[in-house]
């Protein structure tokens, strides 16, 4: 979706302000939100792409004015309600009033913590040969899906060069909609600054994205 989360190239957000000696969490609730998100994901309530889509789908003014973990909280609540794991009545009451819905991998327990400290595996067996190889010139398709995609707006329609082939991976556009992993080839594609930002761009800058094969066409 063409949401405000797709920020690459936008102006007006001001300077980057690093915080010296930044703590891992600024409040205790941030840590609880992180833990709930990780636990419910590991228990099988959602996949990472669906979760990202729910954050992106927050109203633009909410997305832009909420802190990072506030967005996580709001996205998590919306997702759990939509998927039937919690009910609006539960949230209104502040405790469980509706019966639970079974989780794909069952209750998240202490024994499960160790396994979530390593990232999931997204590589999959390919069902078709790769269409592109390093060195190929490609164009990022001019597409505007209204659902989740990982093709940022700032590269759409632009020409780049395939630099690396990462193999076949879970396709977020499909996984986010819970319509299967639909594995696709994944490539690092490099763009010249001037191709993306025009002739006044800094000539020393190159930008790459990791692009799934359905995002690309031969050029």
């Amino acid at each position: 979706m063409n949401g405000v989360h797709d920020m690459g190239g936008m102006d007006g957000f001001g300077k980057v302000e690093p915080e010296p000696n930044e703590p891992m969490f600024h409040t205790e609730w941030e840590a609880r939100v992180l833990a709930m998100v990780r636990a419910m994901g590991a228990a099988g309530a959602f996949n990472i792409d669906t979760l990202r889509f729910y954050r992106e789908a927050l109203p633009p003014h909410v997305y832009l004015s909420s802190s990072y973990y506030k967005k996580w909280l709001l996205g998590l609540e919306d997702l759990l309600i939509d998927k039937g794991f919690i009910a609006a009545e539960d949230v209104a009451a502040g405790h469980a009033v509706q019966p639970p819905k079974p989780l794909k991998r069952g209750k998240f327990r202490l024994d499960d913590v160790e396994r979530i400290m390593v990232r999931g595996k997204f590589g999959r067996v390919a069902s078709a040969p790769a269409k592109f190889k390093p060195g190929d010139r490609v164009r990022a398709k001019n597409i505007h899906p209204v659902t989740h995609t990982r093709l940022p707006r700032y590269v759409r329609g632009h020409f780049g060069v395939v630099e690396r082939d990462h193999g076949c991976h879970v396709f977020p556009d499909s996984a986010a909609m819970e319509s299967g992993e639909n594995p696709q080839w994944l490539y690092t594609v490099v763009f010249d600054g001037a191709e993306l930002w025009g002739p006044d761009a800094d000539p020393t800058v190159k930008i790459s994205i990791d692009a799934f094969e359905p995002y690309l066409e031969a050029a």
């Binding site: 609730w29 636990a39 909420s66 209750k107 490099v190």
Partner: protein, 204 residues
């Protein structure tokens, strides 16, 4: 920090909402509160930039490891038993006198957690995500970093599950240093590409 709730009343409201959600999830039997405590403790103790710093220091002292790291970072890091376990699809990119690498996630906050810990607020906030791909030199200036004007800047937008770790250049004047001494020079920002390692003798 503009991206943060510092307003007390809003904070309290959010806090109540978070507690309510945890109560609901617990009462429904979805999560054990002790497991949530353990997740937080694991994040606070097991991950962090010290992991990445060990990898960088090893690459600075062991050419074979460096080659393996640049070839397949997940595989290379997994051979270092003392460093955090690492997931698939880690890619290490090398800074050279000719090329500087910088990592961003314009769409959300993708970041090599196992190597660097949880990302700082600025990495997840709009100013960095919007400008890193369009004006990387301007962003570096916000960090007080400047590069020679002929140095190529390569910005890696983490748009998939690939995670990028910048291998910074080894500071001069560190000949003969041990891996442990070198690791202490490696900063988090130098592994994101928004800073340099500390230099010997400079105040930290």
């Amino acid at each position: 920090m503009s991206d943060h709730d510092h307003d007390h009343s809003e904070l309290s409201e959010t806090e109540l909402r978070v507690r309510a959600l945890e109560t609901i999830l617990t009462e429904k039997g979805y999560v054990e509160p002790a497991a949530l405590d353990a997740i937080i403790q694991a994040y606070e103790t097991k991950i962090g930039p010290h992991n990445g710093a060990q990898v960088v220091a090893r690459a600075w002292t062991d050419p074979a490891f460096k080659e393996a790291l640049l070839d397949d970072a997940t595989k290379a890091v997994s051979t270092l038993g003392h460093v955090s376990r690492v997931g698939d699809h880690l890619v290490a990119v090398e800074n050279t006198p000719r090329r500087h690498n910088m990592v961003v996630c314009t769409l959300c906050s993708c970041y090599p957690w196992e190597m660097l810990g949880l990302p700082p607020v600025w990495y997840k906030a709009a100013p960095y995500r919007s400008r890193a791909v369009k004006d990387p030199r301007g962003v570096l200036a916000d960090f007080g970093v400047s590069l020679p004007k002929e140095t190529e800047i390569r910005v890696w937008d983490s748009t998939a599950e690939t995670r990028f770790l910048v291998l910074p250049m080894r500071p001069e004047g560190t000949e003969g240093w041990s891996e442990q001494q070198l690791a202490e020079l490696v900063t988090r920002d130098s592994m994101i590409g928004t800073g340099f390692p500390k230099t010997p003798g400079a105040p930290s």
